[in-house]
């Protein structure tokens, strides 16, 4: 993170906000379908950005990010019509953060693949617990009629994206952020030079749960039908990790690049070659890891350097 690049990043961030403002215009210009696409795109950016805040910076790859999304969605769906949405959605975020805080102490003890699978298992555990809860309480599925329009959801989601991005941005350039990055480098050494490793990990983990919680809440409002299995679908976690790595994690630009790339790519294939677009997406993932193993962000940096030097 030398100054040259953080400058490059800053510039990039202005591009991003310009882009976000542009996306806010989608409903009026491109119409209802693209509004939904824009909403999805923003959702993925928000999710991935929040994932980066913890996993990207500390190198603890979480495969359970969906749990926060699901909890948020569940809070909103289960309090629908009994609590005003402007309250319910943030509550979703808070609930997710609380969950993160509660599990953080034990969960953050394990590293590497153990952490990867543990987070996944934890998400499944919560999923099935809530599934049972719903069964016992006799509402295995819920109908959400009269939810706010997609436009409103989009604007809220854009708000989340801005929030998530600023958080990551501030963190990366803060003492806290530098602490997190050396935790990724070498946890023991970090502790030895005075980095409060455990506290930092817990804080980052907890904060990174707020945005997905709220995003889940918003997305629950997008569909009229709420079903636990849908909002806790593990594929969401996988997609987030994929976007983060493709974009280049540990870098505020990554989530945007990753999400835009994957959403647009699959949208493109999806419409032009519906029969085998998933196969093309799969191929692209592989080619990507082989030829740009450090993500698009790093790839761009390389280009920049070569342009400077050449």
């Amino acid at each position: 993170m030398t100054s040259v690049f953080s400058l490059a990043k800053m510039r990039f961030v202005w591009f991003l906000f310009a882009g976000v403002l542009l996306i806010a215009q989608v409903p009026s210009i491109l119409g209802s379908y693209w509004t939904l696409i824009a909403l999805n795109l923003m959702m993925w950016v928000a999710m991935t950005q929040s994932w980066t805040l913890f996993s990207g910076m500390t190198g603890y790859i979480s495969l359970g990010h969906v749990v926060f999304y699901g909890v948020g969605a569940y809070v909103v769906a289960s309090t629908f019509n009994s609590i005003p949405l402007w309250l319910a959605v943030p509550m979703g975020g808070i609930a997710a953060a609380l969950l993160a805080l509660v599990v953080s102490l034990p969960v953050l003890r394990v590293r590497g693949p153990y952490f990867v699978i543990l987070t996944f298992g934890l998400a499944e555990l919560v999923k099935f617990s809530i599934l049972n809860l719903e069964t016992v309480s006799g509402n295995s599925s819920r109908l959400l009629f009269g939810t706010p329009s997609v436009e409103i959801l989009l604007y809220c989601m854009i708000g989340l994206v801005v929030f998530a991005t600023l958080t990551t941005l501030i963190v990366t350039h803060s003492r806290f952020g530098r602490g997190l990055t050396v935790i990724r480098e070498d946890e023991v050494a970090a502790a030895t030079v005075g980095v409060p490793v455990l506290r930092y990990k817990i804080i980052a983990f907890t904060v990174s749960a707020i945005v997905p919680g709220m995003a889940g809440g918003l997305m629950a409002l997008k569909s009229t039908y709420f079903e636990v299995l849908q909002v806790f679908n593990p594929i969401i976690s996988f997609t987030v990790v994929t976007m983060a790595i493709i974009g280049g994690s540990g870098d505020v630009r990554g989530p945007f690049l990753g999400a835009v790339f994957l959403v647009l790519l699959s949208e493109l294939f999806w419409t032009t070659a519906p029969q085998f677009y998933m196969i093309l997406v799969g191929l692209f993932l592989i080619l990507f890891v082989i030829f740009a193993p450090n993500g698009i962000a790093a790839f761009l940096d390389k280009l920049q350097i070569s342009r400077r030097s050449g």
Binding site: G31, S32, Y33, L36, I37, N40, F128, L131, N132, E134, T135, G138, S140, S141, L143, F145, M219, K222, S223, T224, Y225, E227, L229, Q230, N233, I235, W270, T271, T272, A273, P274, Q275, F276, Y277, M278
Partner: protein, 387 residues
């Protein structure tokens, strides 16, 4: 191996090597779950759509209020995500500008799409949605052809069990919505019929062994078992019930037995299994039933799903007949669907509000490798035969 040929053809098509249909076709759009949770259920519906489209085109095209036009199916993968399904119908209507719509697979998708068609005032005949929730959908642009709705299944099933001489039952239910809804209405109905519920357990969708459950049922010594199951666990149940040596006269599985693979897996042993379904090729009163069955088998080298495929095909027939009279004008079409009576492979069908007002809630039983309607009497093609 037909599939492979099919696949290559598709490849060529999408590469534009094979010219698509000519002459101003009627474009009919829908979303399907090609991937994800429901991917294995969707084909039962798609095959119906494709078969119908081929038949219509072979017959010189779709009768659009007089003039005949070829039909072209436009579909996208919803990845089993109901929200994405809604997104697709948005696209089909506003971007693709399709002329007609067919339904996606499953209750969640129907309910999500309901909002979209309502907003655009685009009439769509639904098929594979089965939930009391459909009643909460505002009537107007969507209709549900199914009669397999939990609050009707409960009492009817209880009555069937009673009539079949069942004194006590064991119930096991998947925790997923459709099964739980049924459970909710089944239990009181059974009690009303004076049938004792000796065991009532729910299980998660990813259960991978039922021996424990089945041993408990066996030791409960009931004479009826009602498994509110989904396809995967229906297979699990069958295989292991047999091993544990379950032997009761009345055995009901919710979703699964109508799938062609089910009888392939269990052959004679599946004989006598009861399940939901209101269509059978053996009902001679329905002149279209048998021809459809034969055409399907000829086309796909397997039996149709007696529930989903039949429903999907019905919805096509309804749409076809409505278009024949009303053309493609949405308002005319809406009134046509809402008001007229249709002749389908499942007999006469007409709608009240969003619901199929004619087709009764019925049950099928596997008998000698065939699916026979055993309830209610007036459409039954065979009597209930104890296992």
């Amino acid at each position: 191996m037909k599939r492979i040929v099919h696949f290559i053809a598709l490849l060529l098509c999408s590469l534009g090597l094979i010219p698509a249909q000519a002459a101003e076709p009627v474009r009919i759009g829908y979303s399907i779950a090609k991937t994800g949770l429901f991917a294995q259920a969707a084909p039962s519906q798609i095959t119906a759509y494709e078969l119908w489209a081929n038949q219509v085109n072979a017959a010189g095209g779709l009768d659009v209020a007089g003039d005949r036009r070829p039909v072209e199916l436009v579909w996208f993968d919803d990845e089993s995500d109901p929200a994405k399904s809604a997104q697709i119908y948005e696209k089909l209507i506003s971007d693709e500008k399709v002329d007609l719509l067919l339904a996606p697979w499953g209750t969640p998708h129907h309910l999500n799409v309901a909002g979209v068609v309502e907003r655009h005032g685009f009439p769509m005949v639904g098929n594979t949605a089965a939930s009391v929730a459909v009643r909460e959908v505002q009537p107007g642009n969507i209709w549900f052809s199914t009669s397999a709705i939990p609050d009707r299944i409960g009492p009817e099933l209880a009555a069937l069990a009673k009539q079949s001489g069942v004194k006590s039952v064991a119930i096991i239910a998947n925790v997923l919505p459709f099964a739980q809804e049924n459970l909710q209405f089944l239990v009181p109905a059974l009690e009303a019929e004076g049938i004792e519920i000796a065991l009532n357990e729910s299980y998660p969708p990813d259960i991978s062994d039922m021996t424990g459950l089945l041993s408990q049922i066996k030791s409960a010594g009931v004479d009826g078992i009602i498994a509110l199951s989904y396809p995967a666990d229906s297979f699990l149940y069958m295989g292991q019930a047999r091993e544990v040596g379950i032997d009761v006269s009345f055995e009901f599985l919710l979703v699964g037995p109508t799938i062609s693979a089910f009888s392939q897996a269990f052959g004679d042993f599946a004989d006598g299994i009861v399940t939901i379904g209101h269509w059978s090729p053996h009902q001679s009163k329905w002149s279209r039933a048998k021809p459809f069955f034969d055409a399907y088998v000829a086309a796909y080298e397997m039996n149709p799903d007696y529930l989903d495929t039949a429903l999907a095909y019905m919805s096509c027939e309804i749409l076809e007949q409505a278009v024949a009279t009303a053309g493609l004008d949405r308002d005319k079409l809406r009134t046509a669907i809402a008001s007229s009576t249709f002749d389908t492979i499942n007999g006469k069908v007409s709608f009240e509000g969003v619901e199929n007002a004619v087709t009764p809630t019925a049950f099928l039983q596997l008998q000698g490798g065939d699916m026979h309607l055993i309830w209610p009497e007036d459409i039954a093609t065979a009597g209930f035969s104890p296992r």
